[in-house]
């Protein structure tokens, strides 16, 4: 059974305290791994797509990496405005379900001043 697991469920950081969020996946035929940010009461906001092991992408204080079994979202010197729920999702190569995303339950990040 395909699974996407995110850890930790919740993370509290002091402003400036760098850390990493984990997304592990057990799927066959990975086509892409996506990271989203979701603020309360809003829809998920796209951050990154990673396609193959070894790939890295950066945006401001965020850096996403991918291996054959997991992805990390590294947050460097976070600020309070980085507080949100971060979602990981995968798209797999499986016939008619080609387009759908399989989501993890997310990591709720709180950054306090």
């Amino acid at each position: 059974e395909d699974q996407v697991t995110q850890s930790p469920e919740a993370l509290r950081l002091q402003e400036g305290e760098s850390s990493s969020l984990n997304c592990s996946y057990t799927v066959s035929g990975l086509r892409g791994l996506f990271w989203y940010r979701q603020d309360p009461g809003k829809g998920p906001e796209f951050l990154f797509t990673l396609y193959s092991a070894g790939e890295e992408k950066e945006k401001e204080r965020l850096k996403a990496t991918l291996t054959k079994k997991e992805s990390f979202l590294h947050i460097t010197a976070p600020k309070p405005e980085d507080s949100a729920t971060y979602l990981c999702a995968v798209q797999i190569d499986r016939g008619s379900t080609l387009g759908r995303l399989y989501f993890g339950r997310g990591t709720q990040l709180t950054v306090w001043p």
Binding site: G43, P44, Y51, L87, A89, G99, R100, L101, F103, R105
Partner: protein, 116 residues
């Protein structure tokens, strides 16, 4: 440019009533998706449309749920005879296409459905 829009933003309905939720995708996006997000749960896939192809309905939880997409653009998700377990945030997303290189999906703000 304009993002994905959904209406209504909130909907409160009585058990047993039918509801319609609307989604306007980003112009030019041929793929459209519906997901459901329940409290404490991850996003659950419901259905997706790709161009003129038959929709993938594999995620619809029961035959009370249906969706259509008119003219390759606007989509409506209909829930008949609503039940309390249908209470959730219904999210719509669109992407350039569903096949080939996996394109990112852009989400709307969601419709919060409460069934009393």
């Amino acid at each position: 440019g304009a993002g994905v829009s959904q209406s209504p933003s909130n909907k409160v309905t009585e058990k047993g009533k039918d509801v319609e939720l609307r989604c306007d995708p980003i112009s030019g996006h041929t793929a459209l998706y519906w997901y459901r997000q329940s409290l404490g749960q991850g996003l659950e896939f419901l259905i997706y449309f790709q161009g003129n192809s038959a929709p993938d309905k594999s995620g619809l939880p029961s035959d009370r749920f249906s969706a259509e997409r008119t003219g390759g653009s606007v989509s409506t998700l209909t829930i008949q005879r609503t039940q309390q377990e249908d209470s959730a945030v219904y999210l719509c997303a669109s992407s350039l296409r569903a096949g080939g290189t996996p394109y990112e999906q852009y989400f709307g703000p969601g419709t919060r459905l409460t069934v009393t």
